[in-house]
Amino acid sequence: MNTRQKTFNVIGFIALLLAAILWLVPLLLVVMNSFKGNLFISQSPFALPDSDSFMAADNYTSGVSRTGFFAAAGWSLFITTCSVALIVLLTSMAAWYIARVKAWYTSVLYYLFVFSMIVPFQMVMFTMSKVANTTHLDNPFGIIILYAGFGAGLSIFIFVGFIRSIPIDIEEAAMIDGANPWKVFFTVIFPILRPTAVTIAILNAMWIWNDYLLPVLVIGSEYKTIPIAVQQYMTGSYGQKDMGGFMAMLVLAIVPIVVFYLSGQKHIIKGVAAGAVKG
């Protein structure tokens, strides 16, 4: 490395450091204010908590009880894990069928799934919530099926792209040995698909965990997920007055994501890069 490149790298490092600080400021500000009294949040948002403004965990206890935060977190967790599991299972199976069966209807299906990816949710939001009502899918169990259906597009697209790159000889060999398609899929194909399945799981988990509009329209009158709880807290009568409790809710909404991220950072970053390349 010559001196010019070295200077460049030093400047680059400083630029990255400044950017990283800029990146973390909004989050740190919320954490800081979640420990302060309401008046102090609006009057001196940039001040660290001191003996006057420090509220200990009061904001957290009031925020949790007013939003029913833990119930919301429970539903978020339940809906996200079940939907992701169902999506990975169903769409990998369907993608294998679509990728391997040469027929007019498999191409039609494939293009329908691809087409659905570009359609904005607003196009179907009203009618989907009506369909959910009439078919009694408007509960935390039914919504899993809606997610499987609405999330199928991207998942099928990525899975099919990957399956087409697998040499077909492996399946042929297994079939000559007498294995039925069910067995071929689960003992031969699915293990090969595993890295792609991780990508699909991560992309869908990020979407479903944070999704606001679909759950609020389908189950929002009876059940809350975390984004619904946050939004209702702010628009309800508490939000304007109890900024402290609201800050605490924001922190609690972010913590599970950070934990998830730290526990699987490598997979998540790889998954995102892989998903985009295949997309």
């Binding site: 990255l16 973390l24 400021v25 989050l27 040469k102 904005p120 009618t127 989907m128 069910w182 970053i269």
Partner: protein
């Protein structure tokens, strides 16, 4: 062909469950949506055919819909350019021999995992705190605050994601190509525009596509950050459609017509973008 015929009759096992869920969640709502946009209805079952009058109402009733369209277009153009330039710059820095690249990468990616609603409120706090300190105002004071606030939020959220994709692409550029450029003593900018960028055009296509469609469809951040305030000046298309459906009396038909326009708009833009950048890929 063996495999094809072998598993063909297994449609009910492998493809039917997904197809049924897809029918319920997408095909039926989509079809109904198109039909209902030509009707007047409140509960779907009472739909009455009214031709294109919903579409006419959407554009002529007031200027809100066109205003929202214009807002979304401006916002999308600014954000797509900024997000991709910043993400690419970060990716260039993070693929150099600089200390702590893994930690930096991790930090820049974090906001992407946080949902739009939470992000919107996090930034509302920060922006209001700054505006309050400087001018004793808040984000609802001026449409310019809301617009640039939204640009900042979306940049903060999407740059990390696009950066990851650009890093993966840059790491795939063969080392010999870069070495050859170094031997030819190509300058930084010459190398960037004549070697690096042509080698990663396909990732630029993907990132532009992702940012473009996400910006056009933006809803959560818009709702949380300004909810359209002041008046409806910072209202994007998705938010305008949502409010037409649920906040304006007897406007479900108009809302659905707007949604169809929105869908066609997004589809056409996405198609044009893919064609445009894909053609560049062939040249490169």
């Amino acid at each position: 062909m063996r495999v094809s015929t072998y598993i063909k009759k297994w449609f009910p096992v492998f493809a039917l469950p997904t197809f049924l869920a897809f029918t319920l969640a997408f095909i039926v709502p989509f079809g109904m949506g198109i039909y209902l946009s030509f009707t007047s209805f409140r509960t779907v079952t009472d739909a009455r055919w009214v031709g294109v009058s919903n579409y006419v109402t959407a554009f002529t009733e007031n200027s809100d819909f066109l205003h929202a369209l214009w807002f979304t277009v401006q916002f999308t153009v600014v954000s797509v350019v900024l997000v991709n330039v910043c993400a690419f710059a970060l990716a260039l820095l993070l693929t150099r021999a600089i200390k702590g690249t893994n930690i930096f990468r991790a930090i820049f990616f974090v906001p992407n995992l946080i949902g739009g609603i939470v992000l919107g409120y996090v930034w509302r706090l920060l922006i209001n705190a700054i505006l309050g300190k400087l001018f004793a105002q808040d984000i609802t004071y001026s449409a310019a605050y809301g617009f640039w606030g939204l640009v900042v939020v979306v940049n903060w959220q999407m740059i990390g994601y696009m950066m990851i994709i650009y890093i993966a692409a840059l790491q795939n550029v063969p080392g010999e190509v870069m070495e050859a450029a170094d031997i030819d003593a190509a300058g930084f900018w010459a190398k960037l525009f004549h070697v690096t960028i042509p080698m990663v055009v396909s990732s630029i296509t993907i990132c532009t596509f992702l940012t473009l469609s996400n910006c056009l469809k933006l809803f959560d951040q818009n709702l949380a950050l300004t909810n359209g305030a002041p008046q409806n000046e910072t209202e994007g298309l998705a938010l305008n459609i949502f409010r037409t459906f649920y906040n304006v009396r007897n406007h479900q038909g108009v809302g659905q017509a707007k949604a169809v326009v929105f869908f066609v708009f997004v589809a056409v833009i996405a198609y044009l973008q893919l064609r445009l950048t894909r053609s560049k890929e062939v040249e490169g």
